[in-house]
Assembly symmetry: C2
Amino acid sequence: MGRVTLDGLLNPSSVAILGATDETRRVGGRVMRYMHEAGFKGPIYPINPKRETVQGKRAYPSISDIPGTADLAILSIPARFVKQSIYDCAAKGVKAVVVFSSGFAEMGDEGRAMQEELGAAALDAGVRLLGPNCLGAASVNSGVIASFSSNFLDALPEPGSVGIVSQSGAFGAHLYSLARARGIGLSHWVTTGNEVDITIAECLDFLVDRDEVNTLVVYAEGINDAEGLRRALAKARGARKPVIFLKVGRTEAGAEAAKSHTASLAVSDAVVDAMLKQYGVYRADTTDEMMDVAYACQMGVFPEGRKLGILTISGGVGVQMADSAIKHGLEVPELPDAAQKKIAEMLPFAAVRNPVDITATAMEDPSFVPITHEIILNETDCDAVASFLTPVSGSHEVADTLLPYFARVHEATPNKAISLNIIMPEDVARRYEAERHTVFDTPDRAVASIAALCKIRESFDRGEGAAPLAAPSDALSVPEMAVSEVEAKRVLASNGIGVVREALVTDADSAVSNAAEMPGAVVMKIASPDIQHKTEIGGVLVGVEGDDAVRNGFDTLIARAKEHAPDASIDGVVVCEMVSGGVETVIGVNSDPTFGPVVMFGLGGIFVEVLKDVTFRLAPFGVDEAARMIREIKSFDVLTGARGGPAVDLDDLAETLSRVSVFAAENADTLDSLDINPYLSLPKGGCALDALIVPKG
Amino acid sequence: MGRVTLDGLLNPSSVAILGATDETRRVGGRVMRYMHEAGFKGPIYPINPKRETVQGKRAYPSISDIPGTADLAILSIPARFVKQSIYDCAAKGVKAVVVFSSGFAEMGDEGRAMQEELGAAALDAGVRLLGPNCLGAASVNSGVIASFSSNFLDALPEPGSVGIVSQSGAFGAHLYSLARARGIGLSHWVTTGNEVDITIAECLDFLVDRDEVNTLVVYAEGINDAEGLRRALAKARGARKPVIFLKVGRTEAGAEAAKSHTASLAVSDAVVDAMLKQYGVYRADTTDEMMDVAYACQMGVFPEGRKLGILTISGGVGVQMADSAIKHGLEVPELPDAAQKKIAEMLPFAAVRNPVDITATAMEDPSFVPITHEIILNETDCDAVASFLTPVSGSHEVADTLLPYFARVHEATPNKAISLNIIMPEDVARRYEAERHTVFDTPDRAVASIAALCKIRESFDRGEGAAPLAAPSDALSVPEMAVSEVEAKRVLASNGIGVVREALVTDADSAVSNAAEMPGAVVMKIASPDIQHKTEIGGVLVGVEGDDAVRNGFDTLIARAKEHAPDASIDGVVVCEMVSGGVETVIGVNSDPTFGPVVMFGLGGIFVEVLKDVTFRLAPFGVDEAARMIREIKSFDVLTGARGGPAVDLDDLAETLSRVSVFAAENADTLDSLDINPYLSLPKGGCALDALIVPKG
């Protein structure tokens, strides 16, 4: 980046407010009030040429008149004055400005031009700019509320460890309200608006480095800095700080709507999804899911495995929670005999396998609840516990008995997550939360949150993963012009990718001699840059065996080509080994304008065509990422020998995908698309039967 | 049923409380207090042999001592006294008893025997029994709270139109809390516990008939009265009262857990799911979904179509809502030009296609919000509107401007649903809700609730649907013993189901003459009850053409059978027409112990075997239900000619499924299973190529 950091924005020593007024109904009045109330320690300079004082503080006619400097300047001024103000601020040593004004790129071309001027001015003046068309930012520990959002009228942020970064101001404000209602404390809250300078990516990058932040919530409309975002996400994973990401535009209709929402660049959702998977980001589908997962993550307790213990006072709810656990990919193991026996001795009528149903009757003696919790947490290999104890357990008395037990559990096994489904008054809930236990009001969410924590921990543990396989030293590059299928496979082979054994021949004798070197029958295909659909003209012969048949085949193909496409230039005939068995897969590469080359994988035939059962990753990636990719398709079982078919060589397939990704990445500037259809995955190894490389240009 | 109705339980004129005490910490004290506080109009008789008065009312030593009668007796007494009390109550004319006591079927075999005695006693004495092991019931308008749930300590039910029926007491209480927190008013709240007499089904049946009930929420662990449930659900659909159903045990692990929860019978989830679909029941996956949908349904506003207008103050949130709409099966149509123009004239910078983004700036003049709402609601063909107006619109002032507009809309088009995503204080929300608009705190739920309303309305409009096709008058029944494939197809053919043209022959001449009558080549198969896997012994010949080939074929098959299975009894050889083209489907019937015959449908090969892409319905059903069934499979596109295959005769397929369902229903007592694999669906018509009928016994 090379530009000054966001310290001026999120950790300033002094703040100037341009357009500060007394009236807190107005933007400049509101910011002034918030900065005042939030307990900012440094000087605050109201700028207002018409007043001596604003809200009790001495006002200055212009930024040039303040004594000393201001790290941060908040511009509550009309759009047309913004550009000049940026220069004025820079002259006084201001490091960052917040621009609330709308009327820029979101308003069409004229606005976009104005916005570009702002961006250029900020760059020129060496000032960082948040906005325009944003709701500003808050940095809770620093006592900075550089926003006019009416949310802060009701209540200032509760300090906490969650950082919210939202491109949308309105939705950022909405998330603020939801967090407050849920008792989720915030470290930072930033809305980036039109992102002429500061992007979501950079905010994320900055926040990951703050010790007080342990969880990041991101709401993105578009992706304006793909490289920066990838860097920030990699850094967050390295720091084991979960990123919960809601990216709008999942559906075609959504993407269509996004296009008319001009302030952001549309990007293929499949590619965004691939990127988020690759970086171990938790992609939330809904607002509720995002807030639930953030709520759980901030506790900082990430279970070491997927084994869930379920404790309930209702058998039916136990079943419901087991359903939910399985749906979310958790396991519900039968408890060890000793633990079952111990519970059964105390509570002869309890169900003890897991779910453990201590029955409502057990609630008559409140000591059963902590004891059974302790048994499941300490005497089984469950990684987490979800408990349905409502409706009678939401009291301080129950908390008094439970919390000391839970504390002992956390001391011994700090990563065991405890998720309670109890409807309780807020002050009781806060006691559990202070000890890093989660409280939900439905069993489904109590379980789902644990599943989210498990997935996040797994992505942390996985880390960056294996490096992409190095390309062979003699790897060929993407050809400058379109090339034949044979040539395409030659390029792939030089990049370490298995291809079918084949030869391009121009006379019948060579056809015969080449076929003779291949085991069994061969496939013969006409080779011509001008004949796209070979099968339609009878240009493919399958199962050709014996010298005479090969010789006849050569002649037949040439004759058919001449008959059906008299003007076609003919390269000859391809003779290739007839490989059978295995499973046909499809491997593709496309060049995404935002993220560069993207590798696709799926099974051939109906799986790709009818079921659209495909998966994507950004190039390049290593074999372990490729292995995950392969396991992600719904038809994965076909590769392991379901339906009595062959079990294929998954290691070869993963290696091939990684090699394709490396080829795509190394040739990112020149490769438009690559299509290997099919790549025949065999019980041992595999090979590309057909391939098409399309260069850019 | 033939037994007295539930009036005694849910609409009693007088109530006796056995075990009533002064201490409200005890069950009998709590019930007494609740009945008192709930404003029950009739006499309440506390029964307690040790006290003169209970909570200020004269107490009676036994039920026999009360003056007159009590319609309802609430038994807060130990389990061992319950049976005698039932007889005592009956002697005084009691119509219904509530039994809270646990220690019955949920505790094992001994308890189950005791429970059966209770059931027999109630039947014998002519008294209806709720429970045992339940939390009781509440009937809000009648002022009846026959429960000791501590929930009612905090607050008595708000009257409303939602009836909750829960098998689980603890979860019923939980739902009560959630409803209260959400401001959902209740008409009735019933927990059925072990269901020795009164079941969920009967409660549902009773509540559907109450005018004050417009929405039903059901939480079921098992299904104890399948016939009654089907009747009640059909009645609810006829009365256009939505039933929102959460049935636990969706996953195998859940079902496994359900088995060890002994109080209820496990039932295959696929069958429950089929039944709920068939009766147009809204099946909720999670507690949150159940409560959201109930909240929306009670408004009684069901959109007439799936077209959603989206109005937001943030472009990004508009995209998010469009995503959510598509995910939930709604449409987001582009608004008509006139409407777009009208909005654009007012708000030149708004996005106007749909989603309509009036931008946060528009909020500065609060009149834009109602006007744009009115345009979308009145001047487009949108069936519903979802609006994201938070965070600045949760005030009484905004409600003051919006509500009169909304009222006009509802007057003109009473089925247009308005769903607001605004975070607002409860008292403001209640104002919108009073006018039957829904208020959600996240955009996803605002949209999802509209989708639920649409689906429910569609199921109402569909109603019972077409009657199952009548079986032909000469339809054959299920044979008493296992029969050959040929015989099975003969049975199917007599039931109006298309089968392949074929003949069983016992000599080569007949083989030749039959083959000669079939167009083109034939398939020949050995026919023997002792040879299950014909292909393995070379017992199937495909594409046999010409007299000589058929004659040879006959001899070959007989020879192979004799060679490979010398002891097999051989019926002869089946000569059948070789039908090609079309799509192979699989049609099956299984007999479910709870719901009787269930029809399965899917596509052949990997679709059934690998992808488990199948769907079910209870037999019998008509062609429209069959048509929905066909469209439900994920691979439906294969039937319409995707992947360049043939488009098949969907009408024939639907008719076939309906006829299979009728055959299954008519033979429910004798049919164990039927397997038509494949049924070849053709561009015109279709035919069973192979079939297996397994009789019961």
